[in-house]
Symmetry: C3
Subunit: 338 residues, 3 copies
């Protein structure tokens, strides 16, 4: 494909030779003369200058003298679109494996693909084009929307609902019982967990992530939200649309999170909280209190991100401060005694 055509398809423009032939996408270090590389992080500028790439995808205003550039207003989006050109998604052929087992009353849309050793419980409902990977288990009354892809070895407990165009990776478990017990002198008495997990459209869920069913209400993952691997969403949590939860982050029971929230890696939030739209929780931080809209917090307990940074900087000076205060005390005592 010529660079000019690629630029048109990804919503960018060429600065340089539009007739250059591009056959793929690679990193700055790995790309050769027929590949497109990309520079979106200033940290890698030197690699861009050294790169053997045939062309480089950049954001507006980036200068790289002597290089053929593909400039796009949203370079990450253009990268995604360029990769889609060269790596169209491979879906398995439609059809139900003779080694899959389907319960009574299962209903399948057009073009569904069900792999070997998948198990569908009674009354499972799959929309058009749904892909069910090998060994995936769908409990009774599960519903999955059209074009959703379930990787191998996913488990959806009974009653779980997944929207359209979702992608659930291997090992993810949706709908296991929430962690709810009535503790008495005799021990912990299980509280039946009778809510469901409801995943809206366009959600992606990472490998080995767990989302528990609600105790009474449903646990809800809002439209367009993306969860990374090994994430935990506890019973009754409601995540707003277009959120991001990076790997190993978790949210405790009944917490409600607004739209476009971001949890960085290994972050957490306690239960029964309300977090506003657009909150950002820094990596390794833990939220123990409600947060207003667009709060950007860090630390344990999480506090305003800038304040946290100042405190951490001050903490580094604390051992020295102890000595300074001791010196002050000595000087003052000396002064008083003299």
């Amino acid at each position: 494909m010529r660079l000019g055509e690629l630029a048109a398809r990804v919503g960018g423009r060429v600065r340089g030779d539009p007739d250059r032939v591009i056959e793929g996408v690679a990193t700055l270090d790995a790309a050769g003369p027929s590949q497109l590389a990309f520079l979106t992080n200033a940290r890698y500028r030197r690699s861009a200058e050294r790169s053997r790439a045939g062309a480089i995808l950049v954001g507006p205003g980036t200068e790289l003298p002597g290089r053929d550039l593909l400039e796009a207003p949203q370079p990450y989006l253009a990268l995604a679109l360029a990769l889609e050109q060269f790596h169209p998604e491979a879906r398995p052929p439609s059809g139900v494996s003779p080694d899959a087992r389907l319960g009574d009353g299962v209903r399948l849309g057009q073009g569904v693909s069900i792999a070997a050793f998948a198990v569908l419980g009674a009354r499972v409902l799959l929309g058009d084009g749904v892909v069910v990977g090998a060994g995936t288990v769908l409990g009774d009354d599960v519903e999955v929307g059209s074009q959703t892809v379930l990787a191998p070895r996913v488990v959806l407990y009974p009653g779980t609902r997944v929207g359209a165009r979702c992608r659930i990776h291997a090992g993810a478990v949706l709908g296991a019982d929430g962690f709810g017990f009535a503790t008495t002198a005799e021990g912990h008495h299980k509280i039946p967990q009778v809510g469901r997990v409801v995943v809206e459209d366009d959600v992606e869920i990472g490998a080995n992530t767990t989302i528990d069913r609600g105790a009474l209400d449903d646990t809800v993952i809002g439209r367009g939200t993306k969860l990374d691997d090994l994430v935990m969403v506890a019973h009754g949590v409601r995540l707003g649309p277009h959120g991001l939860m990076a790997a190993q982050s978790g949210i405790a029971g009944s917490t409600r999170v607004g739209a476009r929230a971001t949890f960085a890696g290994q972050a957490g939030a306690a239960g029964h909280l309300t977090l506003g739209d657009g909150v950002v929780v820094a990596a390794k931080s833990a939220v123990f209190a409600d947060l207003g809209e667009k709060a950007f917090v860090a630390g344990i307990p999480a506090d305003d991100h800038r304040r946290w940074k100042r405190e951490q900087a001050a903490l580094k000076r604390l051992p020295e401060l102890l000595q300074r205060v001791r010196a002050l005390e000595a000087r003052l005592t000396e002064g008083e005694e003299s």
Copy 2:
């Protein structure tokens, strides 16, 4: 069911109309006139006042004028019992799927249910009423006590023992090798892990949780202990009875934990420690030293919870303190010079 009958079954008493018909349980926000809601957390009092619920379950002494109340001495327990009335547990019918594979010498109790694509190794022993979910794999010589439910896609490595009335959720792995290596100049030489995992009665284990087999001794999960999802219990750990480990918490090798310990979410403990009965480790905290009975700790490293709170409060004032000390130094110098 009439409210009076329900109250009798859950060990409570009616304050209001005992003849009101109750057909289910719901949250304060969702409940309608034929449903029981519950108020156990003062944070939700306003929701209780607004609720359309037919009756509200409360603890002793809670007043909600004009409402029919079901008062119970242990309201969470009463909630659990009420939910059991309306949602009796659905167990699959007994029988062994023709698509399951059983090794030589397997012995099955009465009323066992084994789903499709389950694999039982040689000499596996299942007690009466055990449920084995689809795709679950039990290694050679595994023993599972009566009435225990293994969800789909559980793995019990060879030799693992699980007690009676346990519940193990999807994706949990018990008995994988502990993380033990002899490090030499050439690299890390694996130390064979020849202990087992032993899970006592009435234990619940969450989705995708991992419990490693002991290096030499067994890893033991005490009677009645409940583990949430994505929890890690390392080789040789001994957890006492009636403990709680919330999601994404973990305990490193050979640590011994007393009875009724609580690990909140994302908490951890280092290896080779002894933690007393009733310890509580706050969310996101990390225990690096032995703890006495009933210690309630927080922080990294974890320290007494109140002290940690004081330190965190003081930390917020540290940037200002630095300025105050600078001012003191200036005043003192000025005073000395004058």
Copy 3:
């Protein structure tokens, strides 16, 4: 086996009776007169003195008067070798289960073992002696080197490469999509993840651990590296040889880690970093900046380990320091006023 023979096999020497018969290995507390116990951690010295063990494995210079000792220069290695004597690894018999499903063009080495309900995609290549556990799923074009053992319920996504003599535990997922999205006003647009996961020789990967495929470049786990359970390695990470990552630790995208690095439990590193050979990240710590060779860091953000310790010690004195500064201010004001 006589103690003298055992000593010869594990590279040690006897201090005491070489003719004592040893039939197994056990902990100090559990060992009887025909078992070898070991003392490698001074914390357990009292247990060694009380132990009924027939002989005790120790490092050079350890004295235990009146006991038969097996002294080895590297006692952990000797322990590993002794355990191998008494617990030789049991591999399943070779052969392909009639209940496994193999895609077109699969090639199998000599002595391969494939268990029931395993699924191998097209063109999968298994070296000699590879073991594939029950329910394990290998995508198209996966390659696995000789003598590698895949436990039950492992998933290797298409194109994943695993070296020789590796061990991958149950529930591990290699090659799921990295967490890469182009965020626009409309939401998060998926960036196709077209790199692979490449695992070099002699690697061990714990239960339910996840390693994502690279966005463009491969994610690489270096030779001899060992990952514990529930570990996360994000897209494009390159881990050097002979590293260790303990349970629930994680590394974000594109970070490069040198040889012999250690991540303790629940530790993490941010993305796009470069960490030198031999770095050690303490438990529960988070690395947010590049690290030089052999850096030993702790804290959030992680800093030099000794400095972190001093700061934490100082933090414990901070509430008292606040009072001392208040007192100083009062004294100074009083002094100035008088």
